[in-house]
């Protein structure tokens, strides 16, 4: 770990100003940043500790909910309003990491956690995300955990967050505070970027910009389910995950929200699958068609070829669970 200076922020504006300096970074729970700093994959020279800023509140805004970026993952998962109205979010949070880590991890940090690509984690191997232009070791290497959607020849890494998959299905928006003190709001769906030729640029966040809150619109009607598929039963990142909300009246699908985790460089909302589901009968055929649509563009890279079939089966199974199948 490279040496750095440390300050504990007590004021939002001062924090963003401090973090805009070259080499400076926010630290919240530290569970991803310190992990990477120990390996010198992240090398900040100054840390601005924002964990004690007054951004922990979870509050109702109209019919929706506003979650402070410093609320920890465990508290959000256990919040009565989240559990009752956004069970998808509770489920996704509870499927992530371990209880200890959820007690530490912030909502903002969770969104900004970096890929678990094994080569990204090993500084002795070429990686475009670590060193732009160096090459991608995962192509032609061990890529069981890698992306099947939206990848590029520069990078096939996935975004590892579970929470973000639920949030993107819930149409969450982010409140951001810029270095100069200006605020803006952005849909989470537009926040993370695909790798294209610049996999080292992962979000639209500007230098010093801070996530201050996640805003949830009123929950769509329907049943919620976050289904995470992994090798062991707990404490493992998703091979594939599905966030689904399905509303069925009679046997007709009134509305659907579908997102995937573990398949792309960002939490992957599938509007294609939703379009297929909308207005159709709740049958196995419909679900299969939705899965086909969701994965029409999917490409495997070798070890991860199975994820295409896994994602489709996980989606169909989740839809059967939520909507039944006649």
């Amino acid at each position: 770990m490279k040496a750095f200076t440390y300050e504990r922020a007590t004021d939002l504006r001062a924090a963003v100003a401090a973090a805009a300096a070259p080499g400076a970074k926010f630290i919240s729970g530290g569970t991803n940043l310190l992990d990477l700093m120990k390996l010198e994959i992240e090398q900040p020279t100054h840390l601005v500790d924002i964990s004690r800023l007054p951004l922990q509140r979870i509050e109702a805004v109209g019919e929706g909910l506003r979650i402070g970026a410093q609320a920890d993952n465990a508290t959000v998962a256990a919040d009565d309003r989240v559990r009752a109205r956004y069970p998808l979010l509770s489920q996704a949070l509870l499927a992530g990491a371990s209880a200890q880590l959820r007690n530490m991890a912030s909502i903002g940090g969770n969104l900004l956690q970096r890929t678990r690509c094994t080569y990204f984690y090993d500084p002795s191997t070429p990686c475009n995300k670590r060193t732009p232009g160096a090459g991608c070791s995962a192509l032609g290497g061990l890529n069981r955990s890698h992306a099947i959607l939206g990848a590029s020849p520069s990078c096939i890494a996935t975004h590892p967050s579970d929470m973000a998959v639920a949030l993107v299905a819930l149409d969450a928006r982010l409140e951001l505070l810029g270095a100069s003190g200006t605020t803006r709001e952005i849909a989470l769906r537009d926040f993370h970027l695909l790798p294209e030729t610049t996999p080292h640029i992962e979000t639209v966040l500007l230098p010093g910009e801070m996530i201050t809150a996640v805003v949830l619109p009123p929950p769509p009607s329907g049943r919620h389910r976050y289904r995470k598929v992994r090798d062991r039963a707990s404490y493992e990142f998703a091979l594939v995950s599905v966030a689904a909300i399905l509303s069925v009246t009679g046997s007709k699908i009134e509305g659907a929200r579908i997102a995937f985790g573990g398949v792309a460089h960002k939490p992957w909302r599938s509007l294609e699958a939703e379009a297929v589901l909308h207005g159709r009968p709740a049958t196995l055929d419909t679900y299969q068609a939705a899965a086909d649509a969701a994965l029409a563009q999917a490409v495997g890279r070798g070890h991860n070829d199975f994820k295409i079939e896994l994602a489709r089966r996980a989606l169909v199974a989740t839809l059967v669970e939520l909507g039944g199948a006649s």
Binding site: A3, L47, A74, A77, Y235
Partner: protein, 177 residues
């Protein structure tokens, strides 16, 4: 330019004892405990949040001490395994681990015990888990399946798992946490 880091003063309480430390900012809470305060009961199994051996309680909540900086804990109340009981006056959870043989080499044990105590507190607060059928249900039924999921952040390579769960079940009636 080589970045200048250096040290920073920080104060926190460990097991009720206040400590004033002047630490390299890079020092994790785990290394502060082990290498500076010589409280070696808290173990380092991976140093990357992947095993739970370094679990301690902060304000009663369980965390992994390897992925947090000591300087981030100004004013915090930290409880480590040494603060729970002594060999001649075991905490009920510690006694249950001995009785049920909930360990072999003992290297994950401090983490398991601290984690179990933090876990019971979460369960009493009605927190759901990944295996809770209905996350909106107001109370939870602490089945063995629930215990196992909630303890999954603590690896045990000796694989004392069934005995650990038995110990926690025994102690969960009236833990003194």
């Amino acid at each position: 330019m080589t970045p200048r880091g250096g040290t920073q003063k920080t104060s926190f309480n460990v097991n009720g004892t206040p400590h004033d430390l002047d630490l390299d900012t890079r020092t994790t809470l785990l290394d502060a405990l082990r290498e500076h305060l010589h409280l070696t009961g808290t173990k380092k199994g991976c140093d990357h949040g992947q095993c739970g051996a370094c679990t301690v309680l902060i304000g009663g909540r369980r965390i992994v001490s390897c992925l947090t900086l000591a300087v981030m804990h100004e004013g915090d109340d930290i409880t480590t395994i040494e603060g729970l009981g002594r060999p001649d006056a075991l905490h009920p959870m510690q006694a249950a681990f001995v009785e049920r043989d909930g360990f072999q080499c003992g290297y994950c044990t401090s983490g398991q015990i601290c984690s179990a105590i933090g876990m019971l507190r979460e369960a009493r607060a009605g927190w759901p888990s990944h295996v809770t059928e209905d996350v909106a249900a107001p109370t939870i039924d602490l089945t063995d399946e629930e215990l196992r999921e909630r303890m999954s952040g603590n690896l045990c390579r000796c694989a004392a798992y069934p005995n650990i769960i038995a110990a926690i079940r025994d102690a969960s009636g009236g833990d003194g946490a």
